[in-house]
């Protein structure tokens, strides 16, 4: 046996003749199908089938906890009830507020941090590690942790605000106030996920070749102009990718907010996902919640598709 055989050649030699004969008759396309078939079967079983089944359930009044009642087809009734329910629209508004402001702050602060970290200074690696620590924690832990920080009587957050503004720390409640609670969840999520945006931006910044800036220097372009005409356009595809990831993640945000506010006070921070969980697994309105899930899915899928098209346009420029 030649010692410089490739692994493929060794496998081919080791294959029994009977099997080799059978496979030998297959075309490349058939062999490719054999290789991808397990993945396709798995995808169909755990993604496509549940999706089709959920669509089917969304037209029924099925309840997973009341099997004895059976289920009936109710047509579009579930969809009609959801789309005409002011509480659902309130959930969507709360979700939109959360989505917009978390992405806004995370992009702003994440980019600024990436811009600072991208410079050469002592302790660069150490500070990068420190900054990315929050995103390594579990959302449930972060939620609990911020609940204590926001506690009006003993919470550090209120004392910091008090230190800078002079207001009594016990005079305001971040998670108990209708006015402040939506911002409380935005702050906690921003704290946790800004490092993620920073890392993506950092990758973008480091991918810009140095000679472009050198050429701009030779052309006597100011730093400000370099920033707007080189840095931002070249980082933009990365930034848009970060926005896409965070947008999809935050649209289905659940754990962090449940730990912080349980959707309260009242329904002030009740995101669509929290309401969906209550409908599906506390009220057990399986048909209704399936319709709600399909509406959310179509919304995210539609928005993400439009966004990806815009992203591709930016990348092709």
């Amino acid at each position: 046996m030649a010692t410089n055989d490739t692994p493929l050649e060794r496998i081919a030699r080791a294959t029994p003749d009977s099997l080799a004969g059978r496979v030998g008759g297959l075309g490349d396309r058939a062999i490719a199908w054999i290789f991808i078939a397990p993945t396709i079967v798995l995808l169909l079983a755990i993604n496509i089938f549940p999706l089709i089944w959920t669509i089917n359930l969304s037209f029924t009044n099925y309840r997973a906890n009341r099997l004895t009642l059976g289920s009936e087809y109710v047509g579009l009734r579930n969809y009609e009830r959801i789309l005409t329910d002011p509480d659902i629209w309130h959930n969507m508004q709360v979700t939109a507020h959360f989505l917009f402001w978390t992405i806004f702050f995370q992009v702003l602060i994440g980019f600024a941090l990436a811009w600072l970290i991208n410079r050469n200074f002592r302790g660069n690696a150490f500070w990068t590690t420190v900054i990315v620590l929050p995103m390594m924690l579990s959302p449930a832990v972060v939620g609990n942790f911020w609940t204590f920080l926001y506690q009006p009587q003993i919470g550090l957050f209120n004392y910091v605000v008090s230190f800078f503004t002079g207001v009594d720390p016990a005079s305001f409640q971040m998670i108990g106030s209708v006015r402040l609670a939506p911002w409380a969840i935005v702050i906690a999520d921003t704290w946790m996920w800004t490092p993620f945006v920073m890392l993506i931006c950092l990758a973008g910044l480091r991918s810009i070749p140095g000679y472009i800036y050198e050429a701009a220097e030779i052309d006597r372009a100011s730093k400000w102009r370099q920033f707007w005409t080189i840095t931002i356009p070249m980082v933009l595809p990365f930034l848009m990718l970060a926005v896409l990831f965070r947008g999809i993640e935050n649209f289905k945000m659940f754990d962090l907010v449940v730990e912080l506010t349980s959707g309260g006070p009242g329904s002030t921070t009740e995101l669509a996902s929290i309401n969906l969980k209550r409908e599906a697994f506390e009220k057990w309105r399986t048909g209704y919640s399936s319709a709600f899930a399909i509406i959310l899915f179509v919304t995210v899928f539609g928005l993400a598709n439009i966004y990806v098209k815009a992203l591709n346009r930016v990348k092709s420029r």
Binding site: T68, G176, V178, P265, G266, S267, E282, W284
Partner: protein, 437 residues
């Protein structure tokens, strides 16, 4: 070789013994709280008497309903015995989760007449009030109050209170008196520390705010239906009394609670009281033995009182019955536990360990009232308890109420009248879906 054979034989004997023991073990599911620890202690007697081992699955209250109802709905075999919340009885019976116990009671001579009627009605029967039993009353409970007796008895505070309100500073007898006292303590400096009036239930996620508000609604005489069993809620759920009571609860929350208690339930109530933040707090009787024993705030420093009346006596029912899960493979052993638990002597020990027996042999015992400082209040509360809906759709009804109440009381959305009107709309929808309207 002989040694090896002996070892194998011995292992086989040990393993077969272990399998036998495992087969005889039964699992009891309940919430993780003080009485559960008492039940573990009590159940050792059952194992000693029958040889049946006991395993326990205790889940903290905020997740108890979610976890256990999922278990029942999925036909799980984890629990052989379930001490489920009183509101689950309708679903437990109609969905086939619980074993009907009538024949077993008849066979074993267990009479429901031996238990307090309110507890039999609330924890055992479905449809309500009919002689169809799905549980044995296991743990009587109601929402009540406790207060800092040592603060109340301070002469300077006594004098100041009397000058302001014209009566002694003592445990309140009406809801309005309770608010006066809470206002009196709110923001006061005691031993160099700012204290607050009261801790009340405001929790949003599970059942907290509903349990707190219902105690107030019942004290005002509010009801769920004009005629029981008709689901005729208009004018009952949103009656003038109910609106007034709900407004009162919100005023109490706004005027007299400590900052930050916007999502407060059992544990937060205990924390607020034990840390010396509040003069009074509401909670379930189940916690009172532990509070009384507390080194910091228990003993002479604590007093107890039943939920004060306003228009009528009324308390929110807590507590649970013990049921046999129909999916269990060890129903006989589970029934043996119920038979054992129903004995008067066991019930007496249950009370002595910190559980709340519903057996009349315990409650009617002349020494019962003096046996604990809260025993008399417990008896009084159990005379006027009312429960939430116990319908199979109770979770939907409860979540709707949680939302409407939290929106109004904590989030300042709308008026009390609007909150209750919307609640009727939600509940009507649920009962229509159920085919009951």
């Amino acid at each position: 070789m002989r040694t090896l054979k002996r070892c194998l034989l011995a292992s086989a004997v040990v393993l077969s013994g272990a399998n036998y023991a495992a087969a005889e073990d039964i699992t009891l599911c309940w919430a993780a709280w003080d009485p559960a620890n008492a039940l573990v202690e009590l159940s050792k007697d059952f194992t000693a008497a029958t040889g049946i081992g006991m395993k326990f699955e205790f889940v903290p209250w905020p997740n108890f309903a979610d976890r256990m109802l999922n278990e029942l709905n999925s036909g799980g075999k984890l629990c052989d015995l379930m001490i489920g919340d009183s509101q689950w009885i309708g679903g437990g019976a109609e969905n086939g989760h619980y074993v009907k116990l009538n024949d077993f009671f008849d066979k074993e001579g267990i009479s429901m007449d031996d238990f307090a009627p309110a507890t039999v009605y609330a924890y055992s029967t479905w449809p309500k009030g009919t002689p169809n039993y799905y549980a044995l009353p296991a743990m009587g409970d109601a929402n009540a109050w406790f207060y800092r007796k040592d603060w109340f008895s301070r002469p300077e505070l006594q004098a100041e209170f009397k000058a302001k309100y014209g009566r002694d500073l003592a445990a309140p007898t009406t809801q309005l008196e309770l608010k006066d006292i809470a206002e009196f303590f709110q923001g006061r400096q005691i031993d160099g520390k700012t204290v607050y009036g009261a801790n009340i239930f405001t929790e949003r996620g599970s059942e907290g705010i509903t349990m707190g508000v219902l105690g107030t609604l019942f004290a005002w005489g509010a009801k769920f239906e004009n005629t029981p069993g008709t689901y005729d809620m208009q004018g009952a759920v949103n009656s003038a009394e109910a609106v007034e009571a709900l407004e009162f609860y919100k005023e109490l929350y706004k005027c007299c609670t400590a900052p930050g208690y916007t999502d407060s339930y059992m544990q937060e109530s205990l924390d607020a009281f034990k840390s010396g933040q509040v003069a009074m707090a509401m909670n379930w009787f189940a916690f009172f033995p532990g509070l009384y024993k507390d080194e910091q705030v228990g003993g002479d420093r604590i007093g107890f009182f039943v939920n004060p009346k306003q228009n009528v006596e009324g308390s929110m029912l807590g507590g649970q019955g013990i049921s046999v899960v129909s999916y269990s493979d060890k129903k006989d052993a589970a029934l043996a536990y119920i038979k054992w638990f129903a004995q008067p002597d066991v019930q007496k020990k249950w009370w002595s360990l910190g559980g709340y027996s519903c057996h009349l042999a315990v409650l009617k015992d002349p020494s019962f009232v003096e046996s604990q400082p809260f025993a008399a209040d417990f008896l009084k509360a159990m005379d006027s308890v009312q429960d939430f809906w116990q319908e199979p759709a109770y979770a939907e009804l409860l979540l709707a109420m949680q939302k409407r109440l939290h929106d109004y009381v904590v989030a300042d959305v709308g008026t009390a009248q609007e909150a209750l009107d919307l609640l009727i709309k939600d509940w009507t929808e649920v009962f229509e879906d159920e085919g009951k309207l």
